[in-house]
Amino acid sequence: MSSKGKYLTGCAALALAAMMISPASAVDPSRLLSADQNANDWLTNHGSYKSYHYSPADQINAGNVKNLEVAWTHFPERATRGIQSTPLAADGVLYYSGSYSRVYALDGATGKLIWTYAPALDEELVAKQTHSPYNRGLALANGNLYVGTVDGRLIALDMKTGKVVFDTRLVDSKKLTVGFTGAPLAVKDTVIIGSQGGEWPWRGPIFGVDGKTGQKKWEFFTVAGTDEAKATWGGESWRTGGGGGWMAGAYDPETNTVWWGTGNPAPLYDWAGADWQKSGPRPGTNLYTTSVIGLDPDTGKLKFYHQELPHDAWDFDSAVGEFLSIDRGGQKLMVHPNKGGFIFVYDRANAKLQNVWQLVKNVNFVKGIDPKTGDLIGRRDLALGKADSPLCPAIAGGISWNSGAYSPKTGLYYKIAQEWCMDITVVRTTPILEPMAQLNIGADFKLVAPPDGPARGHLDARDPVSGEKKWEINYKEPPLASILATGGNLLFVPDSEGVVHAYNAETGQELWSHSNGMGHNAGIISYMAGGKQYIAVPAGWGSLVSDEFAALWGEPFKSMAKNTGALFVYSLKQ
């Protein structure tokens, strides 16, 4: 080789090395805007602002996925209720969070530990919490990682060192009993995070925090957040209305709008029956619960909303954080799943409804939803006492909080559906606020099989706008992990028994599988390190939905450990 050649080779090596160890500050907010085109990294909880859970990477593809094997593993401490988070990856470093908001930074190629962060939490409070101590993910921007805590704080960590940049208390969790389990969302210089809510008697705010200083910029109450909304709650019921926004939403940079899904009102079930407009524990439509809302990320001001289920009386909230930005025929659309089993399609500019289609087969809380107006057709409002037939879906939903995936290559939306119902007896309750807030359920219930067969799950491949189905795969039990589509024409589905499946994204043909030995209720991602593609998925069982499995299906769930977990990372055999 000539000296010139050696020089160029050296420069290329230096450039490559610089790319591989580029500074943490390189992950600035503008880099998040093009995350959907980035095969190297996984920069947001949903992969990008478009929520596709898709990586363009194609080194691992339908032709060679049979050669996928475990490259390395990592075991977190105190994996109480397993691992429920979706990792992030930037510049060859993988970050993920576990229970108690513990955060790990690992070399993406080798798994070598770079740093660990373990916040000191209010352990006495944690012991009193129901929806705890799991954490569902991180945000990345401004050279920082952001993580919420179940005791009501948002913490920023320096990406390089894991040192605390700020630690801001946002929620009085000692009084309200809840805090944060969902991932934050970074938008420009603001970090947005939604509190737990739903059956917890409060007003479930979403917060905007300065990403550099930790100062709270704004707070939007999902219950009675405006005068218009307050008028939709009878009496003083707005004070204990629930709501919340416990999963990270998405961002539309064209309109500078954050899209967020909100939780259900409290109590979950309502003894008013058909008279819910005038009587019962929360008379009225209960804005902005079970809604999608558009917020200005800079001010927290409400731009628009659509309430998917007015006066939700079934715990079928809109908190699923998945908002797919789909452009179709000149239209700019936003696709959002609702826990009740329906997929809503909106105009991205204003949340004006464009379509509603049904994913789940066993639905009887309504007879249908008008795809043009969104009106609930034949809604089933339960009265006090035992319902004459099971309610479908069950409390765990036709759709859970785990995200589906969309492949721009196939044009298909891949989404898990859950088929189950429940016997229910509605009970009159009152909110418990002292000395600290408690759940307000309002019913006794028991999960049962649906009318059309056994309780089960299925993965559908559909057109995201029309809902037209291309293929379907059935599972004995619903998979509870978020899934992944890739540019290699692959779809990865981590299932509940502990097996990761890789399918041909066009046809649904299974091409590879591997057992991790414990159920999955986290998120799976793709990233590159040192020029090589990796697939990473946390395993570890124990979400509140997975807690239902032992009674419905017995083993392996009866004896499956719920206080352990591991991160599994795969690559192609050398």
């Binding site: 109480t80 209720r81 006495e124 012991a127 009193k128 919490q129 129901t130 705890s132 009993t177 059956e199 109590p267 006090l384 006492g385 035992k386 016997d423 007896t425 009970v427 009159r428 309750t429 009152t430 418990i432 000395p435 600290m436 408690q438 759940l439 307000n440 359920i441 309002g442 019913a443 006794d444 219930f445 028991k446 999960l447 124990g542 509140l544 807690d547 239902e548 032992a550 009674a551 719920k562 206080n563």
Partner: protein, 126 residues
């Protein structure tokens, strides 16, 4: 109507509470951990305290399904052979990773009312 099952549950719960409360308080005093909590938050009996069925449907039924009559997220409670002492301790202190501790959230009267409600549940084999 206050509760759905048992149909005379409110009255039965009150009566059962009268029987169980002295025993439960005595048991609580035998346990150092429980005694500390009991001292910090002495048993109080208010009209709300004694409605164990409503408390159960508000909070406990989220996991102990069909009002505690069936296994769900949490174990079935109807027909349990666990002692009063065990159940009271479990309600107060929870089980890490599985069940929250209600010792600082519910009064001793409420905790005993929940125990009393559990004792009314008939095991129908579900």
């Amino acid at each position: 109507m206050r509760i759905s099952l048992p149909r005379s549950g409110a009255v039965f719960t009150t009566l059962t509470l009268a029987l169980v409360l002295p025993t439960a308080c005595a048991l609580a005093q035998q346990s150092p951990g429980a005694a500390t909590k009991a001292e910090a938050r002495p048993a109080e009996a208010s009209p709300n305290d004694i409605d164990g069925a409503t408390l159960f449907a508000s909070v406990c039924g989220f996991c102990h399904q069909n009002g505690g009559r069936a296994e769900g997220r949490g174990p079935k409670l109807a027909g349990t052979t666990r002692s009063d002492d065990f159940i009271l301790d479990r309600i107060r202190n929870g089980k890490p990773g599985s069940m929250p501790a209600f010792g600082g959230a519910f009064s001793e009267g409420q905790i005993v009312a929940i125990l009393a409600y559990i004792r009314t549940l008939e095991d129908d084999g579900n």
